[in-house]
Point group: C2
Chain length 184, copies 2
DNA sequence: GGTGTCATGTAAACAGTTACATGATTTT
DNA sequence: AAAATCATGTAACTGTTTACATGACACC
């Protein structure tokens, strides 16, 4: 479970509450977890037991009390060790490709509609990702190098969607272009 | 759970056993499930109860008996309806981006090593995907249009990894190029 | 004699999502 | 008056992976 490492990473910038972490992860483009309560609060308890974080309870009048989590030096060591571990290749979950694989039973119109719908979905994602990047709600740029890295992380996600968009357009063209050959 | 739809899709080409389905899904590039026993055999029981498939037990001397699954007309209808449903945008699970987000604590050498390792992983994926495409172990091309679609599905996966590779190279260049500005 | 393939299935563990629960304050 | 935000947490469910179990045969 590397969400714990993501949490350690976020806490390495700033002490935060579970609620704050939840929002950061939910709104992040590259931290791909949903950021639901169960994941966050359970992970925090585990990180606490492992000694990677400590917490300080802050009672507030007229609102629920906060637990502010701070990363320990053991947590920082664990984070560094994980960052240095052998990277995994990216994984793609493209349900649309599975759908498309059996789409030859559709008429030309039905297939075109399907492709247009996918094109729209992908375009929406690009707009959303550009908005996330523009707003930069949670961006770490403590050094110029870190700024460069984070910029490239956002670029990665946008490029991925742009490649997908270019691919749909190519497919639409190919289907049109080979119309003559495809029909008897 | 759309693995059931993937199974229906595969069976729409050919009646097969659970064991065959398992291998096809495990070796597929775009059917992203692991293809383990539990998923396959449980799904088949469910599909049977739903009336989307039927099975025929084939006893064999000197090897375990086979259950050959065949899609029903209800199954074909269910498949078509699913294929026509609104597509979901692609999802990316790139653990490396999370790792990279906290990589500013690394030295130039450590960071370069990490990037080279990722570059290698991605290159390996490209080779593997090209091999899968070349072998074409399970490819459906009943019509010229279906052939075109399947070709573009394989192309999609390869393009995705190629975009990733181009991105790492860009990052490596950017880190080198801005060396002067990054150091004091 | 050990490993791999064929062929089925189950058990246990882990990961992840949705929904529920509380309760005060602020915004619409 | 209703909905959203802050802030914590739990329960139930679904999805996914790993490992175990059987047993014959083929290959090295």
């Amino acid at each position: 479970m590397s969400i714990k490492h993501a949490i350690l990473g976020i806490l390495s910038c700033n002490p935060l509450t579970g609620y704050d972490l939840k929002k950061i992860i939910r709104d992040s483009s590259f931290m791909y977890w949903s950021g639901n309560n169960n994941q966050i609060y359970k992970s925090l308890v585990e990180l606490l037991n492992e000694g990677f974080v400590t917490n300080e309870v802050q009672h507030q009048e007229s609102s629920p009390s906060k637990k502010i989590y701070t990363i320990t030096k053991e947590g920082l060591a664990e984070l560094k060790q994980w960052v240095l571990s052998t990277p995994e290749p990216p994984e793609f979950k493209k349900t649309f490709l599975v759908q498309l694989a059996w789409a030859d039973q559709l008429s030309t119109d039905e297939l075109n509609t399907l492709l247009s719908q996918y094109e729209y979905e992908v375009k929406m994602q690009i707009v959303m990702q550009q908005e996330i990047r523009r707003r930069g709600t949670f961006t770490s740029d403590r050094t110029p190098r870190e700024k460069l890295i984070w910029d490239m992380i956002y670029q990665n996600i946008i490029s991925a969607y742009e490649t997908e968009l270019a691919w749909v357009k190519q497919l639409q063209t190919n289907l049109l272009g080979s119309k003559k050959e495809l029909l008897p």
